[in-house]
């Protein structure tokens, strides 16, 4: 368990199957992740099991202080030679969106990536219309690196896909900044 001030991250397991099922079947939410909004509970169960066995992927459930599950964060394409991975965040509970829960979950996961996994770089892929996600990663110090033109098909249109990157040295700068220190103090334990 990785504990912060408002949220904690716990390895995803089948205890949270029904919550994941609910979020994964929300079409508006899934549009941001390029995932099908129609998926059976059996498929999700299998997916959780398969992903857990993968060496290049880590999934976490985001819990509030009261241990209520509100979303997920996950690392994929963990590349141990080039020492980077893709970071993803999904706050499934509408009532907890846009309230810094996602920001803290991302920050805790970044601390984990840099301090525990010893990665050199973390990157995020964000579709053009996910405005809050663009804001969130910029806030954490990510830099826009690539704009893949018309890369994602959603709602009958092609959209650009943005890739943001955060290097280890930039993250260090961020946690030494006033904003970063505030974040760091709020995450009590890792």
């Amino acid at each position: 368990m990785i504990t912060g001030r408002y949220v904690g991250l716990k390895t995803l397991d089948s205890d949270y199957l029904h919550m994941v099922y609910k979020w994964r079947n929300d079409p508006d939410l899934m549009a941001f992740y390029g995932l099908s909004p129609i998926i059976s509970i059996e498929k999700i169960q299998k997916e959780i099991k398969t992903n857990k066995a993968l060496k290049n992927r880590l999934d976490f459930i985001v819990l509030t202080q009261k241990k209520d599950p509100i979303g997920m964060v996950w690392l994929k394409r963990l590349d141990w030679v080039n020492r980077h991975c893709e970071i993803n965040c999904m706050i499934g509970e509408k009532s907890h969106r846009s309230k810094m829960f996602g920001a803290e979950a991302i920050f805790l996961l970044l601390l984990f990536c840099m301090n525990e996994l010893n990665l050199h770089k973390v990157y995020a892929k964000i579709v053009e219309f996910a405005r809050e996600s663009h804001h969130l990663v910029t806030l954490a110090g990510f830099k826009k690196e690539v704009v893949l033109k018309k890369m994602v098909f959603q709602d009958g249109k092609y959209w650009d896909l943005f890739i943001y990157g955060l290097l280890r040295k930039e993250f260090k700068l961020f946690i030494n900044s006033t904003k970063g220190k505030k974040y760091l103090l709020s995450s009590r334990q890792i």
Partner: protein
């Protein structure tokens, strides 16, 4: 077989693997493409079936002589995208005209037969001969992934280039917001 004026492309077959292994021995292309070098001919042959199913690999030929490889992978049928690469391994020829025609054939095949609408390429080697070819074929540089590969003891940048199928083949994006955005 896809034929051009200078070269022709056909799908990689088991009989080509000895040559592919030799190229892999001579060249360091595997470093820049982020894959491991094949440990042995057996390693390559044992993995050939799986390897050729996860991506389409073509040999580039002048008459009966193999001079290089081109391939595309990460085929995303929903978003109609894929990644590609091409390399002329024969050191006795100027790669530029052969690479240009090979890519031209490959791109037309991807757009006109596979019905994909976007292709992209990652380049980590600053002296990769494919770079001038991409410019010639009007690829757009879409950005740079900083420190994205660890090669010979240091992190290097990876440049991303992309090309869209002809505009008229794509649905137009109307100005305005997506629902819920």
């Amino acid at each position: 077989m896809l034929n051009g004026k200078l070269v022709s492309l056909r799908e990689l077959e088991a009989r080509d693997l000895d040559q592919v292994f030799l190229w892999d021995e001579q060249d360091e292309v595997y470093l820049f493409k982020g894959r491991y070098k094949f440990a042995s001919k057996e390693d390559l042959k044992n993995n050939f079936i799986g390897y050729s199913f996860s991506q389409k690999i073509f040999v580039i030929k002048i008459n009966q002589n193999l001079i290089g490889l081109t391939s595309y992978w990460a085929i995303d049928h929903r978003n109609k995208t894929c990644e590609f690469y091409a390399k002329i391994y024969d050191k006795n020829i100027d790669p530029l005209p052969y690479l240009t025609e090979s890519l031209d054939i490959l791109i037309k095949f991807i757009f006109n037969h596979e019905n994909l609408s976007k292709i992209y390429i990652h380049i980590s080697d600053p002296s990769d001969p494919i770079k001038p070819v991409l410019e010639k074929l009007k690829f757009t540089k879409e950005g740079t992934l900083r420190d994205h590969r660890f090669i010979k003891g240091q992190y290097v940048d990876t440049h991303v280039y992309g090309q869209l199928a002809k505009e008229e083949n794509l649905m137009k994006i109307e100005p305005g917001q997506r629902r819920g955005a």
